[in-house]
């Protein structure tokens, strides 16, 4: 099987402070990969370098035929990559409806409006609470609703690859479970590939096919989720349980 995303020797950092060192990563299509690690391990930096918000200082990122280190951030969504940033990225000043519309505005051509309208209707079906709050502004939503909106807005683009940064942050366990279950369903039904950065190791490993553990910007372990979960040493040293 050919990889959807192939990362090799990736290094990145802010200014002169390097954060990531020689990170390698391979995502098969229709899989969920969890990126685990303590605060400051470089998880968010990894996602930001993948989507070009932070330009890597070295290494390569292949997505199909594209070298992502050369793709402008604005074109990412047209390639089929959606990045839901940390802190959800819902635009608080816009309504639920406008946030979702924004998710489809990149489409070009005569069918664009119809495609996006269908995609938005599907998102309302997936997230019932959003359908009831179409005219509410982002700042009026609860944390869970905001996460649904951020995720839903990414799905309006019908991405092949979803980069998801800490979706469980500050959410009730029930909401987290709902979102995790949804990711698994999307993987199985639409072939969505997910790169999931999570602090919540249990929820992440429960749905992940493979996991990558980062420590101080390096990959210290990588493998099937079940194997990592069973590795007592690793759990003690890096995952804290």
């Amino acid at each position: 099987m050919t990889a959807l995303l192939q990362v090799e020797k990736l290094s990145a950092g802010y200014g002169r402070a390097p954060v990531l060192h020689d990170v390698a990563l391979c995502l098969e299509p229709a899989t969920i990969t969890a990126v685990l690690g303590a605060n400051g391990a470089g998880k968010t930096t990894l996602l930001r370098s993948l989507s070009g918000l932070l330009r890597p200082t070295g290494g390569s990122i292949r997505f199909g035929d594209h070298d992502l280190t050369r793709v402008p951030v604005e074109r990412l969504v047209t390639l089929g990559i959606a990045h839901v940033p940390e802190g959800r990225g819902v635009i608080a000043e816009l309504t639920v409806e406008d946030n979702l519309r924004l998710g489809g505005l990149w489409r070009k051509g005569s069918a664009a409006a119809a495609d996006s309208a269908t995609a938005i209707a599907e998102v309302y079906d997936l997230f019932e609470p959003l359908a009831q709050r179409r005219k509410s502004h982002g700042h009026q939503l609860s944390g869970g609703e905001r996460q649904m909106l951020a995720l839903g807005r990414a799905l309006v683009a019908r991405p092949k690859l979803l980069l998801l940064d800490e979706p469980s942050l500050g959410l009730a366990p029930l909401v987290t479970a709902h979102i995790m279950a949804l990711l698994r369903t999307l993987r199985d039904t639409t072939g969505l590939t997910v790169l999931l950065v999570e602090q919540n190791v249990h929820s992440a490993l429960a749905i992940a096919d493979q996991a990558v553990v980062l420590a101080l910007g390096r990959v210290v372990a990588q493998g099937p989720a079940a194997t990592l979960q069973a590795d007592e040493n690793l759990r003690h040293n890096y995952l804290g349980f």
């Binding site: 918000l53 951030v73 959606a82 940033p85 608080a92 000043e93 505005l105 502004h137």
Partner: protein, 293 residues
């Protein structure tokens, strides 16, 4: 009573101009956090261009249209060539650059057209006033000023609210990084904001210069200050606030000058600014801060 009516209409007319200037400042501020000190000088430049076109072709309205287009282009060019580099720097940089651009524009206008008031700048419509009894109330130009600014405001509101480009512009203003991840070319949206601001500012110049001002390179300096007052009163982040603030400034100044004496016009502007800054420093229409979760 008819005096009150006159002062109100007069205030609305000048308020419409201040509102246009305020709106042009807000269009830029909310997307780029740049306070464009050159806005007034840009409007003066487009008024001079209109004058040249009108003289060359004999058509006033062609000159008027060219002024708006020139304002649009000037805004876009200045954003791309000069201010883009300042947008990511500290706010002080953009202020210094703005004042620099202001000085350059006024100097160039002085070199090309001279610094003396040697030209007459025609109004769009008659400035002869209609009267009730002995009190002058308004002229055709007054109605045109209020009407055209109102039309531009509504058009801009429709653009921002209903069109995809408007949604992109709002997203770029509120969350540039998120907008980019969703495929919005934020840089283009910023340029568009500057361009629209340039056109709105040009309209303000075309409306106000023939009514009480003369056409010299510094024509719009005072109008800029009052438009800025309106923008701060309304809240620099809010287009609606800019309009309300601009109109409020026009009314306050008109009443103050009518009832207290014209010497007090600028003092009234200062008092208005002070009261708003003391009571509601972020402006009357400042946006709701999002709850951070």
């Amino acid at each position: 009573m008819s005096r009150f009516l006159f002062l109100t209409i007069n205030g609305l007319s000048f308020g419409a101009v201040y509102a246009a200037v305020a709106l042009s400042l807000v269009l830029i501020w909310r997307t780029t956090r740049v306070l464009n000190f050159a806005q007034g000088a840009m409007a003066t430049a487009t008024a001079f261009i209109a004058l040249s076109v009108t003289q060359a072709t004999g058509s006033y309205w062609l000159g008027f249209a060219v002024a708006l287009v020139a304002g649009f282009l000037l805004g876009a060019v200045l954003e791309i060539a000069v201010f883009r580099k300042a947008e990511t720097a500290s706010p002080l940089n953009s202020i210094v650059i703005g004042v620099g651009v202001l000085i350059v524009i006024e100097a160039v206008l002085g070199m090309v057209y001279g610094n003396q008031n040697s030209r007459s700048f025609p109004a769009s419509f008659s400035t002869d006033t209609y009267s009730i009894g002995n009190t002058a109330l308004f002229s055709d130009q007054t109605l045109f000023t209020i009407g055209s600014v109102l039309a531009v405001m509504l058009a801009l509101a429709a653009l921002l609210t209903w069109t995809p480009s408007g949604l992109r512009m709002r997203a770029s203003a509120f969350a540039p990084e998120v907008a980019r991840l969703l495929g919005v070319r934020v840089g283009r949206m910023l340029t568009l904001g500057w361009a629209l601001a340039g056109a709105v500012g040009a309209l303000a110049g075309m409306l106000v210069i023939p009514t009480g001002l003369v056409i010299i390179p510094q024509s719009m300096d005072a109008v800029f200050v009052l438009g800025f007052t309106g923008a701060v009163v309304g809240g620099l982040d809010s287009p609606v606030g800019a309009v309300v603030g601009g109109v409020a400034t026009g009314l306050v100044l008109s009443y103050a000058s009518g009832y207290l004496g014209s010497d007090l016009t600028l003092v009234a502007a200062l008092v208005l600014l002070m009261v708003v800054l003391l009571v509601r420093p972020s402006g009357l229409f400042s946006g709701v801060q999002a709850r951070r979760v």
